[in-house]
Amino acid sequence: MNQNKQSGFVKWLLITISVLFLFVMLVLPLLVVITQAFKSGVAAYLKAVTDKYTVRALLLTLEATLTAVVVNTIFGLFAAWTITKFKFKGKKLLTTLIDIPVTVSPVIAGLIFILLFGRQSLLYPILKACHIKVVFAVPGIILATVFVTFPFISRELIPVLETEGTDEEEAAALMGAGAFTIFRKITLPHIRWALLYGIVLCTARAMGEFGAVSVLSGHLRGLTNTLPLHVEILFNEFQYVPAFAVSSILVILAIILLVMRSVLEHKGKTTKKPL
């Protein structure tokens, strides 16, 4: 009885702490964003959101995100497949390398690309001769976004593929199925939910990327400005209402992704058939 009472107390204490913490750290800032965005009325909000530069920034963000997701989906599938289905030397090393982007600070990632493709780089004359501009241009932003988000999908897939084993693929191969058929009919159904979940995480991370993109972008308004960078510029210019209005776009996109994530997680759990 005493034990029950005590654990009941602990339970409520922990719940209270968690809720308070979440409220102060997450809910309050979100509320501030929304209230600040609408402080000067709906008209001002709409004006800020439909501003030419905001729309350009939104489009650039979506472009970089889409490219990163497509590239990383393909790369993630290949990497996860390679790591789980084959035995080879240097497998551990490859697995570790995939994790570099999550451990290295994005700012440093940005600087690496500046050094690699910028004026002082050995590659620069070649790039210039081919009329390819990476630094302070859209390719640089896309590159940075791809770099920062590339572990997300492969990291989701590897554990799923690992627990699955290779028997079913072997069985299909023995019956004469080609690699693509095996992937489509056997592997894909297994990893479907993990893959979608990885895509959602990758999208969220790509949309919010600031550090690496900031270094490579050059902050050319209307040209190389993504939404997070645009928010920063507006904020530094003391344009608080537009800054918060643009932020609210990112918040809304994030909420959509969160909902998608929950739905996917739920679906992934309920459709998983035990062996």
Binding site: D167, L174, M175, A177, I186
Partner: protein
């Protein structure tokens, strides 16, 4: 020979899984690859299937060297140890998979799947998923799936290992019957000697990556050629000093003698013992009931010998002094095994 392995070697990271393996299998036979775990039997099976590549040696199927033919083109049916059914496909789609891959026409596929469903007595369950089937049903689906494209050779990796004892018994007879009916050359891997004896036409005993012996179950049982083959079957007693028993011929350099329970006759002191003079005295150390018989552990001259005694015979108590007569035994010299008959039987032929 329909399937032939010629001097196959295979090493995994320093471990010799196949060591100069050579054997041949005739068409239409049901073969068991029998051996303890780690003896290389599954490796042999996977190399025949094309899932592994031998380091050296040739694999010949139906007169063709298949070393460089990929698994998918060998036309082999394979039943995996854990069945490896496609868990996101229905029973129907599982069985139809191989036919779909071959782009057979829909009508033929439908007929073939239903024919196989009937064969494995699972008609009506074609819409189920593997997770909704019992172990025995999954096994049968795996069997049907492997058979669907009409393979010429069927390979089964520990086909009964994952099934509980009672169903296993049923499935064994079912599988044997099925394979005989279809006349398909089949090789199955097992570590269970009873299973091999009961199901297979021929047994190939593997040990530490090489073949110990190949023959019919009866041949291997009656005439094991190696020490390993002699000990692997049945519940044997091993003694070092067989000369302590009377009337066995002397052989040089014997390492040990192996005695099967059915080679031993235990009689009570007051019973008539036909070969009285050749029997030795022993003390019963343990009596266990084995369902259809009693199992006795008898100590004779400090050798522990396991013997069987019928339930209809007079009961024997622990501690009782008994006469032990041994009809025959195997002696091993190095890797070789040979059968020694008790000399007092030479005139009288008494067999089990």
């Amino acid at each position: 020979m329909y399937v032939e392995l010629k001097d196959i070697n295979k090493t995994y990271a320093g471990y010799q899984a196949s060591n100069h393996v050579s054997f041949g299998i005739e068409q239409g036979r049901l073969i068991a690859l029998l051996g303890p775990s780690g003896s290389g039997k599954t490796t042999i099976l996977r190399m025949i299937a094309g899932l592994e590549t031998p380091d050296s040696g040739e694999i010949v199927i139906d007169g063709k060297v298949v070393n460089n033919i990929p698994a998918s083109e060998r036309g082999i049916g394979f039943v995996f140890q854990n069945y490896a059914l496609f868990r996101y496909m229905t029973v129907y789609d599982n069985i139809a998979f191989g036919l779909n891959v071959k782009k057979e026409n829909k009508k033929y596929i439908d007929e073939r799947v239903h024919e196989l469903l009937k064969l494995i007595s699972l008609d009506g369950l074609e819409k189920r998923y593997p997770s909704q089937l019992s172990g025995g049903q999954r096994q049968r689906v795996a069997f049907a799936r492997a058979l669907a494209p009409n393979p010429h050779l069927l390979l089964l990796d520990e086909p009964f290992a994952a099934i509980d004892a009672k169903v296993r018994q049923e499935l064994r007879s079912w599988l044997k019957e099925m394979i005989e009916k279809l006349g398909i050359t089949s090789i199955f891997v097992t570590h269970d000697q009873d299973e091999a004896i009961e199901v297979a036409d021929e047994i190939i005993i593997t040990n530490k990556g090489h073949i110990e012996q190949k023959g019919t179950p009866l041949e291997i049982y009656q005439n094991p050629q190696t020490a390993f083959a002699a000990t692997f079957f049945g519940q044997t007693s091993q003694i070092t000093n067989y000369q302590s028993f009377h009337s066995f011929p002397k052989v040089d350099n014997v390492d040990k003698a192996i005695i099967r329970p059915e080679f031993v006759k235990v009689s009570k002191k007051n019973e008539v013992q036909r070969f009285g003079p050749s029997a030795s005295e022993g003390v019963v150390e343990r009596v266990s009931f084995r369902g259809d018989s009693l199992e006795l552990l008898v100590n004779v001259n400090d050798n522990q010998i396991i013997a069987k005694r019928g339930l209809e015979e007079k009961s024997i108590a622990v501690g009782e002094k008994v006469d032990v007569f041994i009809y025959r035994l195997f002696v091993t010299v190095g890797e070789k095994a040979m059968l020694l008959e008790n000399q007092s039987l030479v005139d009288d032929s008494v067999f089990i």
